[in-house]
């Protein structure tokens, strides 16, 4: 569907083929097709129950598909859990952010991948707090995340700051693909703007970004391409510049058929 631009020659870093997932008799996703190009921001949209969240959880390793394949750099992979996905360079910012309120920002950023002091201390799991803290400060500066102190408990931060910490955590540590679930859903106007800037900053660092959002204005602000899901199927993937809000809404609601087979997605 989309015109062949130079951009479309970009490498596909992550692809899903006919992903299928059901829960206790309900088919959440019947034909999840999706292809993420290198260094693009790709939005997945759809009405409630369209299967967006399921697709995202499959990509992030939080769920496993019943059928279909996930390919990273063209090779089929199994993402048994979010940690496995991270090992393939896929980091997810979940909607509830998965931050620990009782830990400070620095501890949260290294949660699950702490740096330990050299042996013999590492045998006992003794943390190298200084190194971790320094790297967190560097990362937070680089992304221009506005937090007063990385020693502050995450529970005491505002929604935007929490989102920023979660994003900073996702993009650090050799991540290539960042998956974000409703990054602006709980935020006010100003904080949403800051998060959208953050997404652009992540892209500018050469990473690929997948976002799921209900907010069409936000999607049109940051996304390069948009994939529309409807009733568990991929309807179409379109370039942001070649579509309109009306087209997207038409595809979401079924007023527009799109290329319903979903095969076009991989151009």
């Amino acid at each position: 569907m989309s015109a062949k631009e130079p951009e479309s020659d970009r490498k596909i870093v992550l692809e899903t083929r006919d992903l299928y997932k059901h829960f206790a008799g309900v088919v959440a996703l019947s034909q999840g097709n999706f292809a993420l190009r290198e260094n693009e921001v790709h939005a997945i949209v759809g009405d409630n129950g369209a299967g967006k969240s399921t697709l995202l959880k499959l990509i992030s390793g939080a769920l496993q598909p019943d059928a279909g394949a996930i390919l990273i750099d063209g090779k089929p992979v199994t993402l048994a859990n979010p940690t496995a996905a991270r090992r393939f360079g896929v980091s997810t910012v979940f909607q509830d952010l998965a931050l620990i309120n009782h830990l400070d920002a620095a501890s949260n950023m290294f949660l699950g991948r702490e740096i330990l002091l050299p042996p013999p201390f590492s045998w006992f799991g003794v943390l190298d707090k200084r190194t971790m803290r320094q790297r967190v400060v560097d990362e937070v500066r680089r992304l221009k995340v506005g937090v007063r102190s990385v020693d502050q408990l995450v529970g005491g931060m505002s929604g935007g700051q929490r989102q920023a910490i979660a994003v900073a955590r996702a993009v650090a540590f050799g991540t290539r693909i960042v998956v974000m679930d409703e990054p602006t859903a709980a935020l006010g106007v100003r904080e949403s703007g800051a998060v959208l800037d953050l997404i652009k900053a992540v892209q500018a660092r050469g990473l690929s970004v997948v976002i799921i959002s209900h907010s069409m204005p936000d999607v049109f602000k940051v996304a390069d391409r948009i994939t529309v899901l409807r009733l568990g199927r991929t309807v179409s993937t379109v370039d942001r510049d070649q579509t309109s809000l009306q087209d997207i809404i038409g595809m979401m609601t079924g007023a527009f058929p799109g290329d319903a087979a979903g095969s076009e997605v991989r151009h």
Partner: protein
């Protein structure tokens, strides 16, 4: 101290915190405040009793007596703090104390060398911890209920093993760890401090300590970050069980003849020490250091009333009052901070606008209605 508004996003780069600022942050921390309050209470009560009781409180003799009195409770409470931070509770400990004490006693009577018997007693606690974690994690029973079950089972098994009678015929050296002296101090002192320092180190310095907080604060988020929540909780139960097993040895050694009788006071003092120390029943929050100070405070109150010749009945009243006071102070502080927040929001129009923007959910998108 006014906190700056919570909405400053994307503006201020992270300033590295200097020692001065870190100290100020620490003093604003409610846990630190509680710790200081408890230490102040210990000193004030101690000093008052010292003066009233004719200079008998701050004496080596009295302090050693206090240490012996609180050692079992402190060891168990320190370990159980980890379970509570992990979001669970372990009330089986006082059953474990009885079971492990009886186990050690019987093994020694039947000819096992004392150190091995002590190790077996700790092993008993580990087994209880493993059963607890199986019930809580494997089957999904609430930890309070599962461990109440184990409290009765351990007590019952201890009675079955001894026919409900105290174990007799133990050699005299059995009482050494509970009542003896080493290098001029009660053996209980280095044992207690060793356990407390070890657990403080585990909590503050290790990855496991951090995972305990994560598992107790938000298990789902912890899992999404690749933390094995079940393994973390299991290890906490095992540590708690082992500490209760070791506490059982100390307890039995102090009495001389391990009896299959559960000391309910011990269980409740353990819980009171943990709560006074600032550990939340909801998980994610609490420190072994706080529990240690809480245990010392309980010991000081009990010992003070003993010194002044106040009856045991009043000691119960004092302990209850201490618990209610301690938790009450926290509740009032929290209520005040909410009131402050509200006042601040209504005072400055700018802050109020920021706050309402924060609190208002984003409007639904035009595209969403079908």
């Amino acid at each position: 101290m006014a906190r700056s508004t919570a909405t400053e996003t994307g503006t201020i780069p992270t300033a590295p915190t200097g020692p001065g600022q870190r100290l100020r942050l620490a003093l604003l921390n409610r846990d630190v405040q509680r710790l200081l309050l408890n230490i102040a209470l210990i000193l004030i009560i101690g000093l008052a009793v010292h003066i009233l009781g004719g200079g008998k409180f701050f004496t080596i003799r009295n302090i050693f007596a206090l240490v012996v009195q609180i050692s079992v409770m402190t060891i168990i409470a320190s370990a159980m703090t980890l379970v509570m931070v992990a979001g669970a509770i372990d009330v089986s400990v006082s059953g474990t104390v009885v079971l492990s004490g009886v186990t050690a006693g019987l093994l020694i009577v039947h000819g096992m060398p004392t150190p091995l018997a002590f190790a077996a007693a700790i092993g008993t606690g580990v087994v209880v911890g493993l059963i607890n974690s199986f019930l809580v994690i494997g089957i999904g029973i609430t930890s309070l209920i599962a461990t109440i079950g184990l409290l009765y089972v351990t007590q019952g098994v201890a009675n079955l093993m001894t026919n409900g009678l105290p174990v007799i015929g133990l050699p005299l050296d059995f009482t050494y760890v509970g009542t003896g002296y080493i290098l001029g101090v009660p053996v209980s002192l280095p044992i207690m401090l060793g356990v407390v320092v070890l657990l403080i180190a585990v909590q503050r310095l290790t990855r496991f300590g951090r995972y305990i907080v994560a598992a107790g604060s938000d298990p789902q988020a912890a899992f999404l970050n690749g933390i094995n929540v079940n393994r973390t909780l299991t290890l906490c139960f095992v540590i708690s069980g082992a500490a209760a097993g070791w506490g059982g040895v100390l307890y039995a050694s102090r009495i001389g003849n391990p009896a299959p009788v559960v000391d309910n006071d011990l269980l409740f003092q353990v819980i009171v020490a943990i709560v006074i120390g600032g550990t939340a029943l909801t998980g994610g929050q609490g420190s072994v250091l706080g529990t240690f100070v809480g245990a010392v405070l309980i010991g000081v109150v009990n010992q003070s009333l003993n010194l002044l010749g106040v009856s045991t009945f009043w000691q119960y009243v004092a302990l209850g009052a201490l618990l209610v006071f301690s938790v009450g102070v926290d509740a009032v502080a929290r209520r005040d901070s909410i009131r402050d927040l509200r006042r601040r929001l209504t005072r400055t129009p700018r802050a109020a606008a920021d706050a309402s923007r924060e609190l208002t959910p984003q409007l639904p998108e035009k595209g969403r209605e079908t």
